[in-house]
């Protein structure tokens, strides 16, 4: 194992809500690939929502929920890895704020006192993409590739919350993100540039307005289609829902056929590691990936 892999090799897995609710394939594939990269996963002893969904209605309640999760990981003495960028971004931002802003920390610790907890500021929070890029590294990933996906040309969609706001998240360039592209290239697949790569898919407001997210994702899928992407690769359960679960609906609304399967990055990586589609829950995808699987084995 490389030195960098040893540095951060154990994490408590923060699943969030959207993944167990609807995006099981992301968890299944992540649990398959992480151990192969020397990342040891511990389970959360208990859990509550990261707080992001209720931030619009109560910033204080969000802070309290996020801080409670951080405290649970602090008690275990293990850093957090989250698969969902919403969770990762929220926990990361709150962790940073509580470490740096004494006033907010006092306020939040006053909340936490009610449940016998205290934020101490002893752990770190990362999204899986950051763990793969920083702790594992491209070289180590390449060493695990048994079946390079050289036949594939894909589009990436990092999503907003792994990139922005730069001052809280900051590990990739939000205007020209490269990390996911490099992670995809490590699998042997080609990455196609398309217009509007950094544009939001609109998922966060789907509970308020359905039309805007559908239009935003339709626009992205159109641009991906223009460059001939065989698939779109995501690292977010919400973006994935837009590209995969909602694609048939978007096709009806936009009156256009896209037929672009959406893979979780962990599925793409798993395929390149030589795992079979069954193990990676490829069949759970809404958009038929049969052609894609055939292209890989060709």
């Amino acid at each position: 194992m490389t030195e960098s892999a040893k540095k951060g090799s154990k994490y408590v897995l923060f699943l969030g809500c959207a993944i167990p609710y609807r995006e099981g394939a992301y968890e299944i594939s992540a649990r398959k690939v992480l151990p192969r990269l020397g990342i040891e996963i511990e389970e959360m002893p208990e859990f509550n929502c990261c707080g992001l969904p209720i931030d619009p209605v109560s910033h204080e309640a969000m802070l309290a929920l996020a801080a409670r999760n951080i405290c649970l990981a602090e008690q275990k003495g293990v850093n957090i890895v989250a698969l969902c960028p919403g969770c990762a971004g929220t926990l990361r931002k709150v962790n940073k704020t509580l470490k740096e802003d004494k006033k907010v920390r006092e306020e939040v610790n006053h909340f936490l006192k009610e449940i016998g907890m205290e934020f101490k500021g002893t752990i770190d929070v990362k999204h899986i993409m950051q763990v793969l890029a920083e702790d594992v590294g491209l070289e180590r990933i390449k060493e695990t590739i048994k079946k390079p996906l050289t036949n594939l040309c894909v589009a990436e969609h990092s999503g907003c919350h792994v990139l922005r706001p730069i001052k809280y998240i900051g590990f990739d360039d939000p205007e020209n993100p490269q990390i996911l592209k490099n992670l995809i290239r490590a699998t042997g697949a080609k990455v196609l540039d398309y217009q509007g790569e950094t544009q939001c898919c609109g998922a966060p407001i789907i509970g308020i307005n359905q039309g805007i997210p559908m239009n935003l994702t339709a626009e992205k899928l159109s641009h991906m289609k223009e460059v001939g992407a065989q698939a779109v690769v995501t690292v977010c359960p919400f973006c994935h829902m837009m590209f995969d679960t909602n694609q048939p609906r978007i096709e009806r609304v936009a009156n256009k056929k896209f037929e672009i399967p959406a893979l979780h990055y962990t599925q793409l990586l798993g395929l390149a590691m030589g795992l079979n589609p069954e193990e990676l829950a490829i069949k759970e995808l809404r958009v038929d990936a049969a052609k894609l699987m055939a292209a890989i084995s060709a």
């Binding site: 809500c17 299944i28 910033h59 802070l63 922005r164 706001p165 939001c200 509970g207």
Partner: protein
Amino acid sequence: MSQTRKKKAVVKEETGQKKVVKEEISRGLVEQKESQDTVLKITPESAQFKYELKQVPGAEKLMLCFQCGTCTADCPVSRYDESYRPRKILRMAQLGIKDQVLKSDVIWLCAACFTCVDHCPQDVEIAGVLRALRNMSVKEGVMPPVFKELASAIMETGYAYKIPELRIKKREEVALPSLPKGNTEDIAKLFKVTGFSKALGATGGS
């Protein structure tokens, strides 16, 4: 284009009627006349709104907004909904047109993609100002149903969505560890101490 410009200081009402905007700023009363139907009064109390809002986390730099419009130009939501204009919302907040802002459906359209936050030349956390406005709106008794659903799922299960039994069974089938349990007792305490339970009660949530 010229028409858009003309309307710049005029706040569009849902009635679609033409209107008169009165602005009372420190120099005195300024009246901008477009027609006679609707009058938006900016009272001396309105001036206080921006200070009140500035206290809410996320809105600290509200006053630094110099109306360049970068946020609106770069906003993906604005491209598909012409009623959503972050620049305009910030201006209304600065002017203290409190009720129209807090009661407007428009403030709930921000997708929190944070493009505006990263692009603002004045480092105004625009999405943060929107969040602050929504938080204030909740205190005035407004909460879209989706947030009540999310909050009640969190209170009942710890998760923002109630995970279907089928999903939980399926985890066993594919040998996934059982889901960590939510501590609903702790969540209830945290919602109470943060004042969120009270807000939920006031907006008719469970």
